[in-house]
């Protein structure tokens, strides 16, 4: 018996090692990005054979990225991206939480109509709303304004849906007990509901932050001034400034790595929450 157990364990180790190798190959693009960002551009485009581990690693590219080149500051882009992502995430949660509560527990006229219009919007791909959204932002005179990036997401359709799903699980008895104690709706929301849905709030905050941080097409359409660009758009402009894109590949890969690093950290630390968000949106717990 003991022999069999060891053999099984040995098999498991072998399979694991094999899978790690596959995983490492799968991740080569990310390694390649990091590796190129640590080489001087001259070496990156001429070296033969191309090396995954730089021969003479240098931080030169990161210095270039952080100093203003051709009027586009990537540093400014990072700050702008953080501002927009943090503000949209917080405002989104502040709006979605009471909305989801009202739509899950309060009885008022038109509740179902409101809720189902939320669900209907969720069913259609976002690209359909690109033109009308652009039109509205344009008419409001908000072009090239951070509000153009923050306002459209504030309805937080997905957030309301997700939180409502979660809030339906709050035991009725808890609520009844609170009314008997003379607890106000708002106090109940803050002291009972919010702690109860905290995991869902965390999931939502992460998804909304990443959504804003990664957003590309929309900011490309509505932002223009160099000092107001978010990181993805700043990087595109930055690389356009080099003419042939590969002539600035070192700094570009440094910028690319900076843009994925926060996501990577969030994934490693919070992957359980992200996975939960995905399974909640399918309706399986």
């Amino acid at each position: 018996m003991r022999y069999i157990k060891n053999w099984k364990q040995f098999q498991r180790v072998l399979i694991s090692i094999f899978l790690w190798i596959i995983a490492a190959i799968w991740y080569i693009p990310i390694f390649w990005m990091l590796s190129t960002s640590l080489k001087s551009t001259q070496i990156a485009i001429t070296e033969d054979p191309p090396r995954l581990i730089p021969k003479e690693p240098t931080l030169e590219n990161y210095k270039t990225v952080f100093s203003a080149a051709s009027g586009i500051s990537v540093m400014r882009g990072i700050i702008n991206s953080i501002i927009v992502a943090v503000v949209s995430t917080i405002l989104g949660l502040v709006i979605a939480t009471p909305a989801a509560y009202a739509l899950s527990r309060l009885n008022f006229k038109g509740r179902n109509a409101i809720f189902w219009s939320y669900v209907a919007i969720l069913a259609f791909p976002g690209v359909l709303f690109l033109v009308p959204q652009y039109f509205i932002i344009h008419r409001l005179g908000l072009m090239d304004n951070f509000l153009a990036l923050i306002l459209p997401g504030l309805g937080s359709t997905f957030g309301v849906f997700l939180l409502r799903q979660y809030m339906l699980g709050i035991p009725r008895e808890l609520e009844d007990a609170a009314w008997i104690d003379g607890c106000s709706r708002l106090r109940f929301l803050i002291t009972v509901v919010i702690p109860y849905v905290k995991p869902a709030l965390t999931t939502l905050a992460l998804m909304s932050f990443l959504g804003s941080w990664n957003s590309f097409l929309w900011p490309l359409l509505v932002m223009n001034s160099p000092e107001k660009l978010t990181l993805p758009i700043a990087l595109v402009r930055f690389s356009a400034g080099w003419g042939d894109p590969f002539r600035g590949i070192g700094p570009l890969m440094a910028g690319a790595f900076i843009s994925v690093l926060p996501t990577l950290i969030i994934f490693v630390v919070f992957h359980k929450y992200l996975m939960q968000g995905i399974s909640l949106s399918v309706g399986e717990k």
Binding site: A23, P29, T36, F124, P125, P132, V260, I278, S279
Partner: protein
């Protein structure tokens, strides 16, 4: 004004080419993504060491932004002999000389599809992994007693149990495909000769490069008409999700 925009788009060959491109992309990339996701999910569902790192490798890219991912892949597809893709394929003997990756329509699409599958597969992996973990272990034990091999077990137990999630994923991905923009923007700009121009890319060209917002709105309505069935399916699935939580 008015109908004119709709007629103009309807009679525009470039629009229909974009529709065709998008549909072909969907037909190839969706089954491919699902098959790859299924393999990865089955692997991650086994007892292996260092699962977190496998998860990071296969799943984390789906959460990365397009600029970081696509500029890197474009650099991998560099046309000179020391570009990573050229270099690797030359070394392995698949290529005789370095090629320019976005030169022909087939090659350009192959690049877009490979990158897309690599990039978005993680989301499906998470969906499938969740579904796999909900299959009761007794099902597999029963199959073992019956002497069913791994292939048979997969067809008779795993797949039927995953039907709902797979259906959800098809609908989700079809809706996603009609938003295909970033890959085209970074890799090909729609070329060569419009062969990789997708519907949203065409909408972008008409509405925002040429500033014809009216025509872009017409394109949006055409996209709406095409995805309507899938959006309604999605709506039904969402309704079911809502109902199951309400009970």
């Amino acid at each position: 004004m008015g109908l004119q925009n709709y007629i103009r788009i309807w009679t525009d060959d470039r629009f229909w080419l974009a529709v065709k491109n998008t549909v072909i992309f969907a037909i190839i990339s969706i089954p491919l993504t699902m098959a790859v996701a299924m393999i990865i999910a089955l692997i991650l569902n086994q007892k292996v060491y260092g699962k977190l790192w496998l998860l990071v490798a296969f799943v984390s890219p789906t959460f990365f932004g397009s600029v970081g991912i696509l500029t890197t892949w474009k650099w991998i597809y560099a046309s000179y002999p020391t570009g990573l893709a050229n270099y690797a394929l030359l070394k392995l003997g698949f290529l005789k000389e370095a090629i320019s990756w976005f030169e022909t329509p087939t090659r350009a699409w192959a690049c877009i599809i490979i990158t897309t599958v690599w990039w978005i597969v993680g989301f499906s992996v998470l969906l499938y992994l969740g579904a796999l973990q909900r299959i009761p272990p007794e099902q597999y034990e029963a199959a073992k007693v019956d002497g069913a091999g791994p292939w048979k077990t997969f067809w008779n137990i795993t797949l039927p149990w995953m039907r709902n999630v797979l259906f959800f994923d098809v609908v989700r991905q079809v809706l996603l495909v009609f938003g295909l923009f970033d890959q085209v923007y970074f890799f090909t700009g729609g070329g060569p000769a419009g062969s990789t121009r997708t519907m949203v890319y065409y909408l972008y060209l008409v509405g925002f490069t040429r500033q014809e917002l009216g025509q872009a709105a017409a394109i949006s309505w055409y996209i709406f008409a095409i995805v309507l069935i899938f959006a309604l399916l999605q709506l039904i699935l969402l309704t079911r999700t809502v109902r199951s939580a309400e009970e």
